[in-house]
Amino acid sequence: MARVLSNMLFKGFRSMEYTRATASASGSFLQHGMRFSTSVPNDPDTHDDFKPTNKLESSEITLKDIVEQDVKENHVMIYMKGDPEQPRCGFSSLAVRVLSEYRVPIGSRNILEDPELKNAVKAFSMWPTFPQIFINGEFIGGSDIILNMHQNGELKEKLKAKSSE
């Protein structure tokens, strides 16, 4: 029951234009954390103490686990420079613009905020640059590939694959 409720809550946030994955780790915490953190990270008035943190020394969860969870739980997941609302790089900005055309929820993480996460993502996908886009848990590529797939219709098909579930 609790699981169902928290799933509903989670879905509610997923239906927002962008879902910002929190930096927290475990599944249950992610769902609870989401409730409080979605509106927080970009707020300039927020004190650092209240930001989600990646300090994982006390847990056994690795950065790789976080990446795996991100791409599993987010239909579309982008690791980028900056946020979807405020990209910090032309390529990341391009990728977000392309994905936004399809009006699907996008999970994102700003790799500029966390060099260790950045390295973990690079190792996970074996891809050297950002942005990196995952759809349905599958690594799709960077901005050149996403643009190419947008132009030839493949991206539409890829995104459809899930929504018909």
């Binding site: 891809w127 640059t129 799709i140 590529g141």
Partner: protein
Amino acid sequence: MQLVVVKKLQRERIMGVTKEQVESALRSKLSPSHIEVIDTSGGCGASFKVEVVSEQFEGKRLLERHRMVNGALVEEMKDIHALSITKALTPDQWNKQQSQTSQPVA
């Protein structure tokens, strides 16, 4: 944080990769029938745009082709900040594209 960024930029400026280095690495590893490397960094050699046409791309998905290009530039990538692969085509695809652009459909 700011300082790290500045240091990295300086390093790239000193270590900058040349267009010729990128081109020769791609030539030797992918034996392309057509290649174009454009330095988009404005001189510091940290940002490139490449077009590669190679038989080695035959039967491979775009993601794999891009991986091959990235793989050919592993050393150079350490000093390249941005690499845009605008084309990774087989000779057949390239010829088709060329004839399409030179003969607009009536």
